[in-house]
Protein backbone atom coordinates (compact mmCIF):
# COMPACT_ATOMS: atom_id res chain seq x y z
CA UNK A 1 0.00 0.00 0.00
CA UNK A 2 2.45 2.62 1.10
CA UNK A 3 6.05 3.34 1.87
CA UNK A 4 7.30 0.67 -0.50
CA UNK A 5 7.56 -1.87 2.32
CA UNK A 6 6.13 -5.24 1.48
CA UNK A 7 2.94 -6.18 3.26
CA UNK A 8 3.09 -9.25 5.49
CA UNK A 9 -0.63 -9.20 6.09
CA UNK A 10 -3.38 -7.77 3.94
CA UNK A 11 -6.96 -7.22 4.97
CA UNK A 12 -9.42 -7.02 2.10
CA UNK A 13 -12.88 -5.57 2.67
CA UNK A 14 -13.04 -7.26 6.03
CA UNK A 15 -16.38 -7.06 7.89
CA UNK A 16 -17.81 -8.64 10.99
CA UNK A 17 -21.45 -8.46 12.02
CA UNK A 18 -22.82 -9.79 15.28
CA UNK A 19 -26.44 -10.79 15.33
CA UNK A 20 -28.28 -10.45 18.58
CA UNK A 21 -31.83 -10.57 19.76
CA UNK A 22 -33.34 -9.02 22.83
CA UNK A 23 -35.37 -11.65 24.60
CA UNK A 24 -37.48 -14.18 22.76
CA UNK A 25 -39.81 -11.65 21.22
CA UNK A 26 -37.29 -8.97 20.38
CA UNK A 27 -36.40 -8.15 16.82
CA UNK A 28 -33.06 -9.56 15.73
CA UNK A 29 -30.52 -6.77 15.39
CA UNK A 30 -27.18 -6.73 13.67
CA UNK A 31 -24.21 -4.86 15.04
CA UNK A 32 -21.46 -4.20 12.58
CA UNK A 33 -18.31 -4.34 14.69
CA UNK A 34 -15.93 -4.09 11.75
CA UNK A 35 -17.15 -2.58 8.53
CA UNK A 36 -15.35 -2.99 5.21
CA UNK A 37 -11.77 -2.60 6.35
CA UNK A 38 -9.05 -2.80 3.73
CA UNK A 39 -5.56 -2.43 5.08
CA UNK A 40 -2.01 -3.59 4.50
CA UNK A 41 0.32 -4.37 7.40
CA UNK A 42 3.87 -3.76 6.19
CA UNK A 43 6.56 -6.23 7.14
CA UNK A 44 8.92 -5.30 9.95
CA UNK A 45 6.94 -2.21 10.93
CA UNK A 46 4.57 -1.27 13.72
CA UNK A 47 1.06 -0.52 12.56
CA UNK A 48 -1.08 1.10 15.22
CA UNK A 49 -4.86 0.91 15.43
CA UNK A 50 -6.40 3.51 17.69
CA UNK A 51 -9.99 4.21 18.68
CA UNK A 52 -12.44 4.36 21.54
CA UNK A 53 -14.57 1.59 22.99
CA UNK A 54 -16.88 0.06 20.43
CA UNK A 55 -14.79 1.13 17.46
CA UNK A 56 -14.09 -2.49 16.58
CA UNK A 57 -10.34 -2.49 17.18
CA UNK A 58 -10.35 -5.62 19.34
CA UNK A 59 -12.64 -7.42 16.90
CA UNK A 60 -10.30 -6.43 14.10
CA UNK A 61 -7.37 -7.93 16.04
CA UNK A 62 -9.21 -11.24 16.28
CA UNK A 63 -10.29 -11.20 12.65
CA UNK A 64 -6.72 -10.67 11.53
CA UNK A 65 -5.66 -13.87 13.31
CA UNK A 66 -8.89 -15.64 12.37
CA UNK A 67 -9.73 -16.18 16.01
CA UNK A 68 -13.11 -14.93 14.82
CA UNK A 69 -14.62 -15.80 11.48
CA UNK A 70 -15.18 -12.76 9.28
CA UNK A 71 -18.69 -12.15 7.93
CA UNK A 72 -17.16 -11.11 4.64
CA UNK A 73 -13.82 -10.15 3.17
CA UNK A 74 -10.53 -11.92 3.67
CA UNK A 75 -7.20 -11.85 5.41
CA UNK A 76 -4.10 -12.77 3.44
CA UNK A 77 -1.06 -13.72 5.50
CA UNK A 78 2.20 -13.87 3.57
CA UNK A 79 0.32 -14.67 0.38
CA UNK A 80 -1.98 -17.27 2.00
CA UNK A 81 -5.68 -16.45 2.31
CA UNK A 82 -6.51 -17.54 5.87
CA UNK A 83 -10.17 -18.11 5.11
CA UNK A 84 -9.34 -20.94 2.71
CA UNK A 85 -7.08 -22.85 5.09
CA UNK A 86 -8.31 -26.04 6.71
CA UNK A 87 -8.45 -26.26 10.50
CA UNK A 88 -5.22 -28.24 10.66
CA UNK A 89 -3.31 -25.99 8.29
CA UNK A 90 -4.51 -22.92 10.15
CA UNK A 91 -3.38 -24.39 13.47
CA UNK A 92 0.07 -25.01 11.96
CA UNK A 93 0.22 -21.49 10.60
CA UNK A 94 -0.52 -20.09 14.06
CA UNK A 95 3.17 -20.60 14.84
CA UNK A 96 3.89 -17.64 12.63
CA UNK A 97 1.25 -15.25 13.97
CA UNK A 98 0.68 -14.71 17.64
CA UNK A 99 -1.20 -12.42 19.98
CA UNK A 100 -0.46 -10.62 23.24
CA UNK A 101 -3.58 -9.94 25.27
CA UNK A 102 -4.83 -6.99 27.26
CA UNK A 103 -5.40 -8.59 30.63
CA UNK A 104 -2.23 -10.26 31.90
CA UNK A 105 -4.09 -11.32 35.05
CA UNK A 106 -6.23 -13.88 33.27
CA UNK A 107 -3.93 -14.64 30.34
CA UNK A 108 -2.28 -17.61 32.06
CA UNK A 109 -4.12 -20.63 33.41
CA UNK A 110 -3.95 -20.24 37.22
CA UNK A 111 -3.08 -23.91 37.56
CA UNK A 112 0.00 -23.72 35.32
CA UNK A 113 3.42 -22.75 36.57
CA UNK A 114 5.47 -20.53 34.29
CA UNK A 115 7.61 -23.34 32.89
CA UNK A 116 4.46 -25.25 31.86
CA UNK A 117 2.88 -22.08 30.49
CA UNK A 118 5.97 -21.37 28.38
CA UNK A 119 6.18 -24.94 27.10
CA UNK A 120 2.51 -25.16 26.20
CA UNK A 121 2.99 -23.62 22.74
CA UNK A 122 5.42 -26.41 21.86
CA UNK A 123 3.10 -29.04 23.22
CA UNK A 124 0.15 -27.68 21.29
CA UNK A 125 2.16 -27.64 18.09
CA UNK A 126 3.27 -31.20 18.74
CA UNK A 127 6.94 -30.35 19.17
CA UNK A 128 8.50 -32.82 21.58
CA UNK A 129 11.30 -31.52 23.75
CA UNK A 130 13.66 -33.48 25.95
CA UNK A 131 13.85 -32.45 29.60
CA UNK A 132 17.14 -30.63 29.05
CA UNK A 133 15.85 -28.91 25.92
CA UNK A 134 12.71 -27.86 27.70
CA UNK A 135 14.74 -26.29 30.47
CA UNK A 136 16.87 -24.44 27.93
CA UNK A 137 13.81 -23.20 26.07
CA UNK A 138 12.21 -21.91 29.27
CA UNK A 139 15.45 -20.22 30.32
CA UNK A 140 15.88 -18.57 26.94
CA UNK A 141 12.32 -17.33 26.77
CA UNK A 142 12.48 -15.91 30.28
CA UNK A 143 15.77 -14.23 29.48
CA UNK A 144 14.35 -12.80 26.29
CA UNK A 145 11.65 -10.91 28.22
CA UNK A 146 13.98 -9.88 31.04
CA UNK A 147 12.91 -12.37 33.70
CA UNK A 148 15.18 -14.55 35.83
CA UNK A 149 15.14 -18.36 35.64
CA UNK A 150 13.75 -18.63 39.19
CA UNK A 151 10.38 -17.44 37.81
CA UNK A 152 9.93 -20.79 36.04
CA UNK A 153 8.54 -22.47 39.15
CA UNK A 154 6.09 -19.70 40.10
CA UNK A 155 2.36 -19.66 39.55
CA UNK A 156 0.51 -16.68 38.08
CA UNK A 157 -0.86 -15.44 41.43
CA UNK A 158 2.70 -15.04 42.70
CA UNK A 159 3.65 -12.61 39.94
CA UNK A 160 3.00 -8.91 39.40
CA UNK A 161 1.02 -7.63 36.46
CA UNK A 162 4.17 -6.57 34.63
CA UNK A 163 5.80 -9.97 35.13
CA UNK A 164 2.69 -11.71 33.87
CA UNK A 165 2.59 -9.57 30.77
CA UNK A 166 6.24 -10.46 30.12
CA UNK A 167 5.27 -14.13 30.36
CA UNK A 168 2.40 -13.43 27.93
CA UNK A 169 4.90 -11.95 25.49
CA UNK A 170 7.32 -14.86 25.99
CA UNK A 171 4.53 -17.35 25.25
CA UNK A 172 3.68 -15.49 22.09
CA UNK A 173 7.35 -15.59 21.06
CA UNK A 174 7.89 -19.25 21.97
CA UNK A 175 7.23 -20.52 18.45
CA UNK A 176 9.32 -17.79 16.80
CA UNK A 177 6.51 -16.00 14.96
CA UNK A 178 6.88 -13.27 12.34
CA UNK A 179 3.79 -11.36 13.27
CA UNK A 180 2.43 -10.23 16.64
CA UNK A 181 -0.95 -8.68 17.29
CA UNK A 182 -0.71 -6.63 20.48
CA UNK A 183 -4.19 -6.04 21.85
CA UNK A 184 -3.85 -3.18 24.35
CA UNK A 185 -0.97 -4.99 26.03
CA UNK A 186 -0.40 -2.23 28.58
CA UNK A 187 -3.94 -1.01 29.25
CA UNK A 188 -4.30 -2.80 32.59
CA UNK A 189 -0.83 -1.94 33.87
CA UNK A 190 0.53 0.92 35.94
CA UNK A 191 2.18 3.68 33.91
CA UNK A 192 5.68 2.85 35.15
CA UNK A 193 5.16 -0.77 34.06
CA UNK A 194 3.48 0.23 30.80
CA UNK A 195 6.62 2.05 29.75
CA UNK A 196 8.75 -1.01 30.66
CA UNK A 197 6.62 -3.26 28.48
CA UNK A 198 6.69 -0.85 25.56
CA UNK A 199 10.49 -0.64 25.84
CA UNK A 200 10.65 -4.44 25.84
CA UNK A 201 8.43 -4.67 22.78
CA UNK A 202 10.58 -2.13 20.95
CA UNK A 203 13.73 -4.06 21.77
CA UNK A 204 12.26 -7.41 20.72
CA UNK A 205 11.06 -5.99 17.45
CA UNK A 206 14.46 -4.71 16.43
CA UNK A 207 16.20 -7.89 17.63
CA UNK A 208 13.82 -10.36 16.03
CA UNK A 209 12.59 -8.34 13.08
CA UNK A 210 8.95 -8.74 14.07
CA UNK A 211 5.91 -7.16 12.48
CA UNK A 212 3.44 -5.67 14.95
CA UNK A 213 -0.20 -4.72 14.83
CA UNK A 214 -0.61 -2.58 17.94
CA UNK A 215 -4.14 -1.96 19.19
CA UNK A 216 -4.67 0.87 21.68
CA UNK A 217 -7.04 3.55 22.87
CA UNK A 218 -4.13 5.82 23.80
CA UNK A 219 -3.21 8.08 20.90
CA UNK A 220 -0.17 9.42 22.75
CA UNK A 221 1.24 5.94 23.14
CA UNK A 222 0.43 4.95 19.57
CA UNK A 223 2.12 8.07 18.27
CA UNK A 224 5.25 7.17 20.20
CA UNK A 225 5.36 3.47 19.38
CA UNK A 226 3.99 3.07 15.87
CA UNK A 227 5.27 3.77 12.37
CA UNK A 228 1.83 4.14 10.91
CA UNK A 229 -1.50 4.86 12.55
CA UNK A 230 -4.96 3.62 11.62
CA UNK A 231 -7.81 5.51 13.31
CA UNK A 232 -11.10 3.66 13.69
CA UNK A 233 -14.51 4.96 14.62
CA UNK A 234 -17.55 2.70 14.96
CA UNK A 235 -16.17 -0.15 12.92
CA UNK A 236 -14.75 1.91 10.09
CA UNK A 237 -11.29 3.15 9.29
CA UNK A 238 -11.62 6.94 9.22
CA UNK A 239 -7.99 7.87 8.75
CA UNK A 240 -4.61 6.31 8.04
CA UNK A 241 -1.64 8.43 9.08
CA UNK A 242 1.51 7.41 7.14
CA UNK A 243 3.77 8.86 9.85
CA UNK A 244 2.87 9.00 13.51
CA UNK A 245 3.15 12.77 13.67
CA UNK A 246 1.42 13.59 10.42
CA UNK A 247 -1.20 16.30 10.86
CA UNK A 248 -4.68 14.79 11.10
CA UNK A 249 -7.14 15.39 8.30
CA UNK A 250 -10.18 13.76 9.80
CA UNK A 251 -12.08 15.73 12.45
CA UNK A 252 -12.32 12.69 14.71
CA UNK A 253 -8.55 12.24 14.76
CA UNK A 254 -8.26 15.92 15.56
CA UNK A 255 -10.69 15.47 18.45
CA UNK A 256 -8.75 12.47 19.76
CA UNK A 257 -5.59 14.50 19.63
CA UNK A 258 -7.26 17.39 21.45
CA UNK A 259 -8.50 15.02 24.12
CA UNK A 260 -4.99 13.84 24.85
CA UNK A 261 -3.59 15.09 28.14
CA UNK A 262 -0.08 16.28 27.43
CA UNK A 263 2.10 15.96 30.55
CA UNK A 264 3.24 19.54 30.39
CA UNK A 265 1.48 22.28 32.40
CA UNK A 266 2.93 24.94 30.12
CA UNK A 267 1.04 23.52 27.19
CA UNK A 268 -2.45 23.50 28.60
CA UNK A 269 -4.99 22.92 25.94
CA UNK A 270 -7.70 25.47 25.48
CA UNK A 271 -10.97 23.95 26.45
CA UNK A 272 -12.52 22.76 23.22
CA UNK A 273 -15.48 20.56 23.80
CA UNK A 274 -16.31 17.66 21.60
CA UNK A 275 -20.02 17.50 22.19
CA UNK A 276 -22.20 14.45 21.98
CA UNK A 277 -21.70 10.82 22.76
CA UNK A 278 -20.49 7.87 20.77
CA UNK A 279 -23.62 6.49 19.08
CA UNK A 280 -24.65 2.88 19.54
CA UNK A 281 -23.12 0.55 17.01
CA UNK A 282 -26.52 -1.06 16.50
CA UNK A 283 -28.23 1.66 14.54
CA UNK A 284 -25.57 3.45 12.61
CA UNK A 285 -26.50 6.53 10.60
CA UNK A 286 -26.36 6.14 6.81
CA UNK A 287 -23.73 8.81 6.32
CA UNK A 288 -20.50 9.52 8.16
CA UNK A 289 -20.65 7.85 11.57
CA UNK A 290 -18.97 10.85 13.15
CA UNK A 291 -21.40 13.39 11.70
CA UNK A 292 -23.43 13.70 14.89
CA UNK A 293 -20.40 14.99 16.79
CA UNK A 294 -18.49 16.72 14.04
CA UNK A 295 -18.24 20.53 14.03
CA UNK A 296 -18.11 20.59 10.21
CA UNK A 297 -20.91 18.15 9.49
CA UNK A 298 -23.52 19.16 6.91
CA UNK A 299 -26.33 17.46 5.02
CA UNK A 300 -23.91 15.59 2.75
CA UNK A 301 -22.11 14.12 5.75
CA UNK A 302 -25.34 12.86 7.24
CA UNK A 303 -26.55 11.32 4.00
CA UNK A 304 -23.51 9.95 2.19
CA UNK A 305 -20.81 7.84 3.68
CA UNK A 306 -17.40 9.26 2.73
CA UNK A 307 -14.90 6.85 1.17
CA UNK A 308 -11.40 6.46 2.43
CA UNK A 309 -9.45 8.45 -0.12
CA UNK A 310 -5.70 8.36 -0.27
CA UNK A 311 -3.30 11.07 -1.26
CA UNK A 312 0.14 10.58 -2.77
CA UNK A 313 1.96 10.48 0.55
CA UNK A 314 -0.05 7.47 1.69
CA UNK A 315 -2.25 9.59 3.91
CA UNK A 316 -5.89 8.47 3.72
CA UNK A 317 -8.98 10.01 5.30
CA UNK A 318 -12.69 9.32 5.01
CA UNK A 319 -14.13 12.80 5.23
CA UNK A 320 -16.14 15.11 2.99
CA UNK A 321 -14.51 18.15 4.52
CA UNK A 322 -10.97 17.16 5.47
CA UNK A 323 -8.81 19.49 7.53
Amino acid sequence: MSGGAQNLVELRQLSKRFESRRGLFGKPRAMTAVDDVTLGIPKGRVTGVVGESGCGKSTLARLVLRLLEASSGEVVFDGMPLGQLSGGALRKLRRRMQMVFQDPYSAIDPRYNMADALLEPHRIQGIRLSRADARTVVGELLGMVGLGPQIAASFPHQLSGGQRQRIGIARALALKPDFLVLDEPTASLDVSIQAQIIALLEQLRSELGLTYLFISHDLGLVRYFCDRIVVMYLGRVVEVLPQPHAAPRHHYTRALLDSNFVPDPKRRRTIRRLTGEIPSAFDLPPGCAFAARCPRADATCRAIRPDLTQTADGHAAACHHPL
Binding site: R22, L24, F25, G26
Partner: protein, 308 residues
Protein backbone atom coordinates in the same frame (compact mmCIF):
# COMPACT_ATOMS: atom_id res chain seq x y z
CA UNK B 1 -45.12 -3.80 32.97
CA UNK B 2 -48.38 -5.29 31.66
CA UNK B 3 -46.81 -6.19 28.34
CA UNK B 4 -43.93 -7.75 30.22
CA UNK B 5 -46.37 -9.85 32.24
CA UNK B 6 -48.19 -11.00 29.11
CA UNK B 7 -44.94 -11.94 27.42
CA UNK B 8 -43.81 -13.91 30.45
CA UNK B 9 -47.15 -15.68 30.50
CA UNK B 10 -46.85 -16.57 26.81
CA UNK B 11 -43.37 -17.93 27.47
CA UNK B 12 -44.90 -20.39 29.92
CA UNK B 13 -47.06 -22.03 27.27
CA UNK B 14 -44.31 -24.14 25.69
CA UNK B 15 -43.15 -25.10 29.18
CA UNK B 16 -46.67 -26.20 30.05
CA UNK B 17 -46.93 -28.35 26.94
CA UNK B 18 -43.55 -29.94 27.58
CA UNK B 19 -44.52 -30.84 31.12
CA UNK B 20 -47.90 -32.14 30.05
CA UNK B 21 -46.22 -34.39 27.46
CA UNK B 22 -43.87 -35.79 30.10
CA UNK B 23 -46.75 -36.44 32.47
CA UNK B 24 -48.82 -37.95 29.67
CA UNK B 25 -45.98 -40.29 28.77
CA UNK B 26 -45.60 -41.63 32.31
CA UNK B 27 -48.34 -44.11 31.68
CA UNK B 28 -46.51 -45.38 28.60
CA UNK B 29 -43.15 -45.60 30.34
CA UNK B 30 -44.43 -47.91 33.03
CA UNK B 31 -43.82 -51.51 32.07
CA UNK B 32 -46.88 -53.34 30.75
CA UNK B 33 -49.88 -52.52 28.61
CA UNK B 34 -51.15 -48.97 29.22
CA UNK B 35 -54.68 -50.34 29.38
CA UNK B 36 -53.72 -52.50 32.31
CA UNK B 37 -52.40 -49.41 34.03
CA UNK B 38 -55.70 -47.65 33.62
CA UNK B 39 -58.06 -50.34 34.86
CA UNK B 40 -58.50 -52.26 38.09
CA UNK B 41 -56.85 -55.61 38.30
CA UNK B 42 -59.27 -58.30 37.32
CA UNK B 43 -61.31 -56.13 34.97
CA UNK B 44 -63.14 -57.85 32.17
CA UNK B 45 -62.05 -57.42 28.56
CA UNK B 46 -65.22 -55.39 28.01
CA UNK B 47 -64.27 -52.95 30.74
CA UNK B 48 -60.80 -52.71 29.22
CA UNK B 49 -62.24 -52.01 25.82
CA UNK B 50 -64.36 -49.19 27.22
CA UNK B 51 -61.30 -47.57 28.78
CA UNK B 52 -59.21 -48.10 25.68
CA UNK B 53 -61.85 -46.43 23.55
CA UNK B 54 -62.29 -43.59 26.02
CA UNK B 55 -58.59 -42.75 25.99
CA UNK B 56 -58.20 -43.60 22.33
CA UNK B 57 -55.53 -46.14 23.21
CA UNK B 58 -55.86 -47.78 19.81
CA UNK B 59 -54.92 -44.52 18.11
CA UNK B 60 -51.36 -43.24 17.49
CA UNK B 61 -49.58 -41.69 20.47
CA UNK B 62 -49.93 -38.07 19.40
CA UNK B 63 -53.68 -38.43 18.91
CA UNK B 64 -53.93 -40.00 22.34
CA UNK B 65 -52.15 -36.97 23.74
CA UNK B 66 -54.55 -34.60 22.03
CA UNK B 67 -57.51 -36.49 23.43
CA UNK B 68 -55.97 -36.55 26.88
CA UNK B 69 -55.14 -32.83 26.80
CA UNK B 70 -58.55 -31.86 25.45
CA UNK B 71 -60.17 -33.78 28.25
CA UNK B 72 -57.87 -32.13 30.75
CA UNK B 73 -58.61 -28.63 29.56
CA UNK B 74 -62.32 -29.41 29.93
CA UNK B 75 -61.69 -30.41 33.53
CA UNK B 76 -61.83 -34.13 32.87
CA UNK B 77 -58.84 -35.69 34.61
CA UNK B 78 -60.13 -39.21 34.17
CA UNK B 79 -61.25 -41.64 36.82
CA UNK B 80 -59.27 -42.92 39.76
CA UNK B 81 -58.73 -46.62 39.41
CA UNK B 82 -58.44 -47.61 43.03
CA UNK B 83 -60.26 -44.73 44.65
CA UNK B 84 -63.00 -45.07 42.03
CA UNK B 85 -63.93 -41.43 41.69
CA UNK B 86 -63.26 -38.72 39.15
CA UNK B 87 -59.71 -37.49 39.66
CA UNK B 88 -60.93 -33.92 39.40
CA UNK B 89 -63.08 -34.44 42.49
CA UNK B 90 -60.19 -35.90 44.44
CA UNK B 91 -57.98 -32.99 43.52
CA UNK B 92 -60.63 -30.40 44.26
CA UNK B 93 -61.19 -31.99 47.62
CA UNK B 94 -57.51 -32.08 48.57
CA UNK B 95 -56.17 -28.90 47.06
CA UNK B 96 -57.43 -26.44 49.70
CA UNK B 97 -55.47 -28.26 52.39
CA UNK B 98 -52.27 -28.15 50.36
CA UNK B 99 -52.79 -24.51 49.50
CA UNK B 100 -53.29 -23.59 53.14
CA UNK B 101 -50.21 -25.49 54.22
CA UNK B 102 -47.92 -24.28 51.42
CA UNK B 103 -49.20 -20.73 51.60
CA UNK B 104 -48.62 -20.48 55.34
CA UNK B 105 -45.23 -22.16 55.06
CA UNK B 106 -44.21 -19.80 52.26
CA UNK B 107 -45.33 -16.76 54.21
CA UNK B 108 -43.60 -18.00 57.34
CA UNK B 109 -40.31 -18.76 55.53
CA UNK B 110 -40.29 -15.49 53.61
CA UNK B 111 -41.00 -13.18 56.51
CA UNK B 112 -38.84 -14.94 59.06
CA UNK B 113 -36.08 -15.73 56.57
CA UNK B 114 -35.73 -12.17 55.29
CA UNK B 115 -35.79 -10.67 58.78
CA UNK B 116 -33.28 -13.11 60.19
CA UNK B 117 -31.02 -12.87 57.13
CA UNK B 118 -31.10 -9.07 57.21
CA UNK B 119 -30.25 -8.96 60.91
CA UNK B 120 -27.41 -11.41 60.44
CA UNK B 121 -25.98 -9.34 57.60
CA UNK B 122 -26.32 -6.04 59.49
CA UNK B 123 -24.54 -7.49 62.50
CA UNK B 124 -22.08 -9.64 60.60
CA UNK B 125 -19.69 -11.74 62.71
CA UNK B 126 -21.58 -10.92 65.90
CA UNK B 127 -22.97 -13.59 68.28
CA UNK B 128 -26.36 -13.09 66.63
CA UNK B 129 -24.86 -13.79 63.21
CA UNK B 130 -23.23 -16.98 64.46
CA UNK B 131 -26.48 -18.21 65.98
CA UNK B 132 -28.33 -17.48 62.75
CA UNK B 133 -25.67 -19.26 60.70
CA UNK B 134 -25.94 -22.29 62.96
CA UNK B 135 -29.73 -22.24 62.62
CA UNK B 136 -29.40 -22.00 58.85
CA UNK B 137 -27.11 -25.04 58.82
CA UNK B 138 -29.55 -27.10 60.90
CA UNK B 139 -32.62 -25.85 59.08
CA UNK B 140 -31.22 -26.80 55.71
CA UNK B 141 -29.85 -30.19 56.71
CA UNK B 142 -32.46 -31.84 58.96
CA UNK B 143 -34.69 -34.26 57.01
CA UNK B 144 -38.15 -32.73 57.10
CA UNK B 145 -40.08 -35.90 57.80
CA UNK B 146 -37.85 -36.64 60.78
CA UNK B 147 -38.13 -33.09 62.04
CA UNK B 148 -41.91 -33.45 61.79
CA UNK B 149 -41.84 -36.64 63.81
CA UNK B 150 -39.64 -35.02 66.45
CA UNK B 151 -42.00 -32.04 66.69
CA UNK B 152 -44.94 -34.42 67.12
CA UNK B 153 -42.99 -36.24 69.79
CA UNK B 154 -42.25 -33.01 71.65
CA UNK B 155 -45.34 -30.87 71.26
CA UNK B 156 -48.03 -33.49 70.89
CA UNK B 157 -46.83 -36.52 72.77
CA UNK B 158 -44.73 -35.02 75.56
CA UNK B 159 -46.32 -31.61 76.05
CA UNK B 160 -49.74 -32.38 74.60
CA UNK B 161 -50.12 -28.81 73.31
CA UNK B 162 -50.99 -29.52 69.70
CA UNK B 163 -52.85 -32.19 67.77
CA UNK B 164 -50.78 -35.06 66.46
CA UNK B 165 -52.29 -35.19 63.03
CA UNK B 166 -55.25 -34.37 60.85
CA UNK B 167 -56.49 -31.06 59.57
CA UNK B 168 -59.57 -30.36 61.56
CA UNK B 169 -58.43 -27.21 63.36
CA UNK B 170 -56.02 -24.39 62.69
CA UNK B 171 -53.81 -25.69 65.47
CA UNK B 172 -53.20 -28.75 63.34
CA UNK B 173 -51.52 -26.45 60.83
CA UNK B 174 -48.87 -25.19 63.23
CA UNK B 175 -46.53 -28.16 63.34
CA UNK B 176 -46.60 -28.90 59.59
CA UNK B 177 -45.97 -25.24 58.77
CA UNK B 178 -43.11 -25.16 61.24
CA UNK B 179 -41.64 -28.33 59.75
CA UNK B 180 -41.62 -27.03 56.18
CA UNK B 181 -40.98 -23.45 57.23
CA UNK B 182 -37.70 -24.19 58.98
CA UNK B 183 -36.09 -25.43 55.79
CA UNK B 184 -37.58 -22.58 53.80
CA UNK B 185 -36.51 -20.02 56.39
CA UNK B 186 -32.97 -21.35 56.29
CA UNK B 187 -32.89 -21.04 52.50
CA UNK B 188 -34.31 -17.52 52.45
CA UNK B 189 -32.14 -16.34 55.33
CA UNK B 190 -28.98 -17.67 53.70
CA UNK B 191 -29.69 -16.03 50.36
CA UNK B 192 -30.71 -12.76 52.02
CA UNK B 193 -27.58 -12.62 54.16
CA UNK B 194 -25.17 -13.38 51.31
CA UNK B 195 -26.93 -10.95 48.97
CA UNK B 196 -26.94 -8.16 51.58
CA UNK B 197 -23.23 -8.60 52.24
CA UNK B 198 -22.45 -8.67 48.53
CA UNK B 199 -24.54 -5.61 47.78
CA UNK B 200 -22.92 -3.70 50.63
CA UNK B 201 -19.60 -3.97 48.73
CA UNK B 202 -20.98 -2.29 45.63
CA UNK B 203 -19.75 1.11 44.45
CA UNK B 204 -23.17 2.71 44.57
CA UNK B 205 -23.49 1.86 48.27
CA UNK B 206 -20.19 3.62 48.93
CA UNK B 207 -21.57 6.64 47.13
CA UNK B 208 -24.77 6.50 49.23
CA UNK B 209 -22.57 6.67 52.32
CA UNK B 210 -20.64 9.52 50.78
CA UNK B 211 -23.93 11.37 50.24
CA UNK B 212 -24.39 11.33 54.00
CA UNK B 213 -27.40 9.03 54.17
CA UNK B 214 -27.87 7.34 57.55
CA UNK B 215 -26.43 3.82 57.68
CA UNK B 216 -29.69 2.19 58.65
CA UNK B 217 -31.55 3.85 55.80
CA UNK B 218 -28.90 2.67 53.34
CA UNK B 219 -29.12 -0.87 54.68
CA UNK B 220 -32.88 -1.17 54.86
CA UNK B 221 -33.89 0.89 51.86
CA UNK B 222 -31.17 0.42 49.26
CA UNK B 223 -29.15 -2.67 50.17
CA UNK B 224 -32.15 -4.76 51.20
CA UNK B 225 -33.97 -3.88 48.00
CA UNK B 226 -31.13 -5.36 45.98
CA UNK B 227 -30.72 -8.31 48.29
CA UNK B 228 -34.39 -9.20 47.89
CA UNK B 229 -34.03 -9.68 44.15
CA UNK B 230 -32.07 -12.95 44.38
CA UNK B 231 -34.36 -13.99 47.24
CA UNK B 232 -37.37 -13.55 44.98
CA UNK B 233 -35.63 -15.49 42.21
CA UNK B 234 -34.82 -18.37 44.52
CA UNK B 235 -38.30 -18.38 46.00
CA UNK B 236 -39.89 -18.32 42.55
CA UNK B 237 -37.62 -20.97 41.16
CA UNK B 238 -37.68 -23.24 44.14
CA UNK B 239 -41.29 -22.84 45.15
CA UNK B 240 -41.29 -26.51 44.28
CA UNK B 241 -39.15 -27.05 47.37
CA UNK B 242 -41.95 -25.83 49.56
CA UNK B 243 -44.41 -28.01 47.69
CA UNK B 244 -42.00 -30.93 47.78
CA UNK B 245 -41.68 -30.39 51.51
CA UNK B 246 -45.45 -30.35 51.70
CA UNK B 247 -45.62 -33.77 50.05
CA UNK B 248 -43.58 -35.49 52.75
CA UNK B 249 -44.90 -33.44 55.61
CA UNK B 250 -48.53 -34.06 54.73
CA UNK B 251 -47.78 -37.74 54.80
CA UNK B 252 -46.03 -37.53 58.20
CA UNK B 253 -48.85 -35.55 59.76
CA UNK B 254 -51.50 -37.64 57.99
CA UNK B 255 -53.06 -34.48 56.58
CA UNK B 256 -55.24 -34.60 53.53
CA UNK B 257 -53.69 -32.81 50.56
CA UNK B 258 -52.12 -33.29 47.16
CA UNK B 259 -48.99 -34.80 48.69
CA UNK B 260 -50.83 -37.46 50.60
CA UNK B 261 -52.95 -38.12 47.53
CA UNK B 262 -49.83 -38.43 45.36
CA UNK B 263 -48.09 -40.85 47.73
CA UNK B 264 -51.23 -42.90 47.95
CA UNK B 265 -51.53 -42.96 44.17
CA UNK B 266 -47.87 -43.91 43.86
CA UNK B 267 -48.18 -46.82 46.23
CA UNK B 268 -51.45 -47.99 44.68
CA UNK B 269 -50.21 -47.46 41.09
CA UNK B 270 -53.23 -45.27 40.47
CA UNK B 271 -51.85 -43.57 37.37
CA UNK B 272 -54.65 -41.12 36.52
CA UNK B 273 -54.52 -39.74 40.06
CA UNK B 274 -50.74 -39.56 39.84
CA UNK B 275 -50.95 -37.65 36.58
CA UNK B 276 -53.52 -35.26 37.98
CA UNK B 277 -51.49 -34.51 41.10
CA UNK B 278 -48.29 -34.00 39.12
CA UNK B 279 -50.02 -31.68 36.72
CA UNK B 280 -51.33 -29.56 39.58
CA UNK B 281 -47.88 -29.42 41.19
CA UNK B 282 -46.34 -28.49 37.85
CA UNK B 283 -48.83 -25.69 37.36
CA UNK B 284 -48.06 -24.43 40.88
CA UNK B 285 -44.34 -24.47 40.13
CA UNK B 286 -44.89 -22.58 36.88
CA UNK B 287 -47.06 -19.99 38.54
CA UNK B 288 -44.44 -19.64 41.26
CA UNK B 289 -41.77 -18.91 38.68
CA UNK B 290 -44.06 -16.45 36.94
CA UNK B 291 -44.87 -14.56 40.14
CA UNK B 292 -41.16 -14.53 41.00
CA UNK B 293 -40.33 -13.06 37.60
CA UNK B 294 -43.03 -10.43 37.85
CA UNK B 295 -41.96 -9.34 41.32
CA UNK B 296 -38.39 -9.16 40.02
CA UNK B 297 -39.46 -7.01 37.12
CA UNK B 298 -41.40 -4.75 39.46
CA UNK B 299 -38.26 -4.35 41.56
CA UNK B 300 -35.74 -3.89 38.77
CA UNK B 301 -36.27 -1.52 35.84
CA UNK B 302 -33.47 -3.20 33.88
CA UNK B 303 -35.52 -6.40 33.64
CA UNK B 304 -38.69 -4.52 32.71
CA UNK B 305 -36.89 -2.72 29.92
CA UNK B 306 -35.02 -5.76 28.65
CA UNK B 307 -38.11 -7.16 26.96
CA UNK B 308 -39.54 -4.12 25.30
Amino acid sequence: MLSYAIKRLLLLLPVFFTISIVIFLIIHMVPGDPVDNLVRIGSTPEQKAVIAARYGLDKPLHEQYVIWLTNLLQGDFGNAIVMRRPVADLIAQNIPYSLALSGCALLFSTILGISVGTLAAMYKDSKLDQVVMGGILLGSTLPSFWLGLLLILLFSVQLGWLPVSGARSWEALILPVLTIGLGGTALVARVTRVAMLETAQKDFVLLLHAKGLPRRRIQLRHVLHHALMPVVTILGLRIGWILGGAVTVEYVFARPGLGTLLIKALSQHDYPVMQGCLLMLAIAVMLGTLVGDLVQAAMDPRIRHSMS
